[in-house]
Symmetry: C2
Subunit: 243 residues, 2 copies
DNA sequence: CGGCAAATTGACACATCTCAAAGCCTGTGG
DNA sequence: CCACAGGCTTTGAGATGTGTCAATTTGCCG
């Protein structure tokens, strides 16, 4: 399946695509590349020439801390169908890198083609814009979660969100999904020490809310997990609307 | 001064505006409204019909927590020149409200006019897009700060950022600015208890880094404050570039 | 002057971090 | 098939950061 299929599904869940919009998306020339776990997909750079969509696996936006080379913070996770670094198209530079979480495959689109879309197709342009704004809404929700939830609930929120996003593009069902995240990476996402993340995982397990072995996650009690996390998917903006 | 002047300065700091772009911005029909401290400027709503730019004072994006009516989290602060809820133009709904921090004045722009810009002026459209992406970059930096800085350094980071943003649009100089933030609001921003925020403020004062009385903040030692906060303004994307 | 909201302080409880060590998986070479 | 190495996970104990509660002080405004 071409990545654009996932991305088209992502868009169509939120608005109707005209024939013109669809045709242009399908005609995009792209380059597919596969990455090993931990590899850098997009480096910190200025004036990037292309952006990537997620095709398979997961990726993350990783911020290196100044003066502490071995520490980093992950500010976003991306699932298939996400236009991962579309914001690099409009910004002068990326202040973070994009790395593979587990084995991952992405598809690159040149900025020339994106510029052409903005010149010709206002509606599709607004939908691309929308995709970056949903990322921003997720950032805000992560801020809310970080400020208002204790460790177990915070982890629960992340799991609810990832499942909701995977499910929305048809990449997960039955409350099961692959999550090849190391606990160290989870710590970089949630802002805890790896040890504390481990305790949070155990807590959710002990409460009978999840099963997690290797990269396999099963949500045993969706309602319980969502209640603990106070999860409300409104922020993912998955609503049909004219944009 | 019309708000558009601040916003135009915001844009011109980052790219060249064509005569057409400028003319369209200057021709925007807007409605100015003033608000008292704490008042709601934009409610939680679906399918908003207008968005607002910051003219005077400060505003914040406030998230009500589900099931805890008296608690909230603030995920963004806006200074004059910011197009505060421009994201409401493309999203189906806002999951937060916008409130006044101290006395504030904003200028509303109808979404009809924004739609027209996206139909006619691709370059200006990309610049509007950029403005929302800079907000997203600020969200990410807040996530990094929350995950990697202890309370005093976290507060220091916020002060550095606010000053940098005010200074960038000419709304502050000499390391002094008005910051009519209650410590309770500061707590909602940083994710600490008001008591702990108070300790952080005192710490920065005791170290001789800032003076803060009433709404008046003076940064006594910019270098020291920025070092403590590991502040690097790159994420504000204040660079001339073709977009 | 009085009243109220905000800022400040102290003491104690709870959450999370750090360091250290032990257990578990998986791939590899003998 | 087994032994081993290495990375990841899990556990424990003590140090530090932050939250909560209660009380006092400050500053503003009527």
């Amino acid at each position: 399946m071409a990545i654009t299929d996932y991305f088209i599904r992502y868009l169509q869940r939120r608005d109707r695509l005209s024939d013109k919009d669809l045709a242009r998306l399908r005609a995009l020339r792209t380059e597919q590349v596969a990455y090993a776990p931990g590899e850098v997909i997009v480096p910190v750079e200025r004036h990037a020439q292309r952006s990537c969509m997620m095709l398979r696996g997961l990726s993350a936006r990783s911020h290196q801390l100044v003066g502490r080379p071995e520490e980093r913070v992950i500010t976003a996770l991306h699932v298939p169908g996400d236009f991962v670094d579309l914001h690099g198209f409009v910004l002068a530079g990326l202040e973070h890198s994009v790395i593979a979480i587990g084995p991952a495959e992405v598809e690159f689109v040149s900025h020339d083609q994106l510029t052409a879309i903005t010149e010709d197709l206002p509606h599709l342009t607004r939908l691309l814009w929308m995709a970056t704004l949903i990322d921003a809404a997720v950032h805000r929700q992560w801020l809310v979660a970080a400020a208002s939830l204790r460790s177990s609930a915070h982890l629960a929120h992340l799991l609810c969100e990832i499942y909701a996003r995977l499910h929305a593009v048809g990449a997960a069902s039955d409350h099961r999904f692959a999550l090849p995240l190391l606990q160290r990476e989870l710590a970089d996402i949630l802002g805890y020490s790896p040890i504390h993340v481990n305790r949070a995982v155990r807590d959710l397990r002990d409460r009978g809310l999840i099963r997690w072995s290797g990269a396999d996650v099963t949500i045993l009690d969706w309602k319980g997990l969502a209640t603990l996390a106070r999860f409300d998917p409104t922020y993912l903006d998955m609503e049909q609307a004219r944009r």
